[in-house]
């Protein structure tokens, strides 16, 4: 089931992907441009993380987060974290758009990591049958930060695609809040000897537009008893709008009475929005026309329904012969 693959320095050909960890353990301290902050993990392996200084950024769709959390909740009992592949596309301006993901069963031992490559390829083929435009753009793992084993997996993925993105989703809420980080890697080598893999964090853009469309209330609570229909949603929207107008009103009041210092930008925004109401002289007529149109449509649809029930009676319910 596991495909054969030769690791970095494994002596013989085995059936599991053996990725022995690199031997160098001395802490590396280098200065890389502006904004270099190094952090050392307190474990045996040294992990250096630099804040980003490149323009590469990743865009993550909410479905990916949902997928990862779901896989984490369903992981087998002995696994501490979940590893999987990220699918998506690379936009023309270099941003990586992550749209889908799937988990891969894996085993992690003290100095080895085994990935089920055949499963990975099978799932990739299946997903591409549905959506051929989605290609591998990287991989994800749950847990905070980048560990030593991750470097090996990252190297495996860099054989599949150039410059893979590594996404970490912190399901343990280590810092007291959710953190989703993405990294790209560069290899540090001294002459011929590969020394370490440096992970550079890149900016993650969580596009929640789709989730918002579905309705954040539906996705946030643990159970939602009823999907809102048109009028309920309209009511909720109008209430929100009303509360917005109220808060703006309050703000303006406070500024006028001197309780809060005035902020010119906000003032300009408010002036712009108020001015964007078009001054139509015959707005009344337009509104009345629209209302009449809609009333006509309601009337037509009621007539249609009456027609339907009549036809029903004539065709089925009545006994003519």
């Amino acid at each position: 089931m596991y495909a054969a693959c030769r690791g970095l320095s494994s002596p013989n050909e085995t059936l599991i992907l053996h990725l022995p960890r690199p031997r160098s353990k001395s802490p590396l301290s280098r200065e890389i441009g502006a904004g270099a902050t190094s952090r050392m993990a307190a474990s045996v392996d040294t992990v250096l993380q630099f804040s980003s200084s490149t323009e590469l950024s990743a865009r993550v769709q909410p479905l990916v987060i949902f997928n990862i959390c779901d896989c984490y909740v369903r992981r087998p009992d002995q696994a501490e974290r979940v590893i999987g592949t990220l699918l998506g596309s690379i936009l023309p301006d270099g941003t990586v758009d992550i749209r889908n993901s799937y988990a891969i069963p894996h085993n992690e031992f003290s100095d080895q990591v085994a990935l089920d490559i055949e499963y990975h390829h099978n799932m990739l083929l299946s997903h591409q049958k549905v959506n051929p435009k989605e290609v591998i753009v990287g991989w994800y793992s749950t847990g905070f930060g980048v560990s030593g084993g991750s470097a090996l997996i990252h190297e495996f993925y860099s054989r599949e695609v150039t410059n893979p993105v590594h996404l970490t989703v912190d399901t343990g809420f280590n810092n007291g809040h959710a953190s989703i980080k993405a990294y790209v890697s560069t290899n540090l080598s001294l002459g011929d000897r590969p020394l370490a893999t440096q992970f550079q964090e890149i900016h993650v853009d969580l596009r929640m537009v789709e989730a918002e469309r579905v309705g954040l209330d539906i996705l946030k609570k643990q159970t939602v008893d009823k999907l809102p229909n048109d009028l309920d949603g309209m009511e909720a929207t109008m209430q929100r709008l009303l509360s917005l107008v109220d808060s703006v009103y309050e703000y303006v009041d406070n500024v006028v009475e001197g309780r809060i210092p005035a902020d010119n930008n906000i003032g300009r925004f408010i002036a712009d929005s108020v001015a964007s109401i078009p001054k139509l002289s015959d707005l009344d007529k337009l509104v009345n026309d629209s209302i009449q149109d809609h009333l006509l449509m309601l009337y037509l649809s009621s007539i249609t329904r009456t027609q339907l029930s009549l036809a029903e009676k004539l065709n089925t319910a009545a006994q003519i012969l």
Partner: protein, 337 residues
């Protein structure tokens, strides 16, 4: 001593468990997002996919789903489709996803989903799975700000009728079934795991206004309503054609009856003449005569389906009109300040 009130194990095992009727479909947020993403990506083409989950008591839980690739009409690809399904199920099993098919989902365009193919797919699924449900998602309605997700099931009485393939007026009247009874809509509940709700609460705080609201407050509902009316008119034409068929049938039937009466009269006078002449009277019925052949009644299935569609369009128009009224009055109020 066994408690007389408790049933013995044998009794429980042999008693057939009557399945409680399906009351609620519980979907996970993950499945909802997947369905929406798939349908939206391929709209306006219609796509389908499989639902996976668990069947627990009167609740059908949908925990995951996967999409089907778009199939061209080709015989060899049929086998590929089945292989794809098996592959996906096997792979998902390895990551502990529920491996149990509970139905399928499909996207629709403006609510025109009641077709014979839907019923046939239902019957196919019903043979293998005891309880299955079809989820319909309408991406064009969702642009208006409403989450147009519906769970449908064929009603049991309809399924019996369909199996016998008998849609004559007699049978339908006997069961007191009308076009409303074909599909049953089941309420949907959405549930999320605790982890994901923690994440969502964290990542997206309570923002005062969401994209959904922007969509809903858009004044232009013109194109949507236009298309609805367009479909409505076409369906009315279809309904008219069906009614014409019925009228034709009735006319034929009454003509045949008149012919039968005339023939009977002739036979009777002949018999009287024969009796007067002392011969054997001829039988009053002659089944070989073509005018006695019963004319088959046209099936009412099509007309029922068309009626269902029309009702759907009417409902949609009503909903949109209601929303537009609120928007227009809001606009008016804003302008008056």
């Amino acid at each position: 001593m066994a408690n007389p009130a408790a049933r013995s194990f044998l009794q429980v095992a042999s008693a057939e468990e009557a399945a409680p009727p399906l009351r609620v479909v519980q979907i996970e947020g993950l499945a909802v997002l997947k369905i929406i993403k798939h349908c939206k990506e391929f709209s306006p083409a219609l796509v389908t996919g499989q639902l996976l989950g668990l069947d627990v008591g009167s609740v059908l839980e949908v925990t995951n789903c996967f999409p089907f690739p778009i199939r061209e009409e080709d015989e060899e690809i049929e086998a590929e489709g089945a292989n794809y399904q098996l592959d996906m199920l096997r792979c998902l099993r390895e990551v502990n996803v529920d491996n149990n098919t509970v139905g399928w989902y499909q996207s629709t365009f403006l609510g025109s989903y009641q077709t014979v193919e839907l019923i046939e797919t239902f019957m196919n699924y019903q043979e293998n799975i005891r309880r299955c449900v079809c989820i319909i998602y309408d991406p064009s309605s969702s642009n208006q700000g409403v989450l147009a997700l519906k769970a449908l099931k064929l009603s049991d009485s309809f399924m019996d009728l369909y199996k016998n393939n008998n849609f004559t007026g007699e049978k339908l009247r006997a069961k007191n079934m009308s076009w409303v009874d074909i599909f049953e809509e089941i309420p949907i509940k959405v549930s999320n795991s605790a982890l994901i709700s923690a994440f969502m609460a964290e990542l997206e705080g309570d923002s005062p206004v969401t994209q959904c609201d922007y969509d809903r407050l858009q004044l232009s509902s013109g194109p949507f309503v236009e298309r609805n009316m367009d479909f409505l008119i076409k369906c009315m034409d279809d309904l008219f054609v069906e009614q014409q068929k019925f009228q034709y049938h009735y006319r034929n039937l009454s003509r045949q009856q008149a012919q039968q009466q005339a023939w009977l009269q002739k036979r009777r006078t002949e018999n009287m003449a024969r009796k007067a002449a002392g011969e054997e009277p001829l039988p009053e019925e002659d089944l070989s005569n073509p005018i006695f052949k019963p004319i088959p009644e046209p099936s009412r299935l099509e007309s029922f389906l068309v009626t269902n569609q029309i009702a759907n369009y009417c409902n949609q128009i009503n909903g949109v009109s209601g929303q537009s009224f609120s928007r227009l009055y809001l606009m008016k109020a804003l302008h008056e300040d």
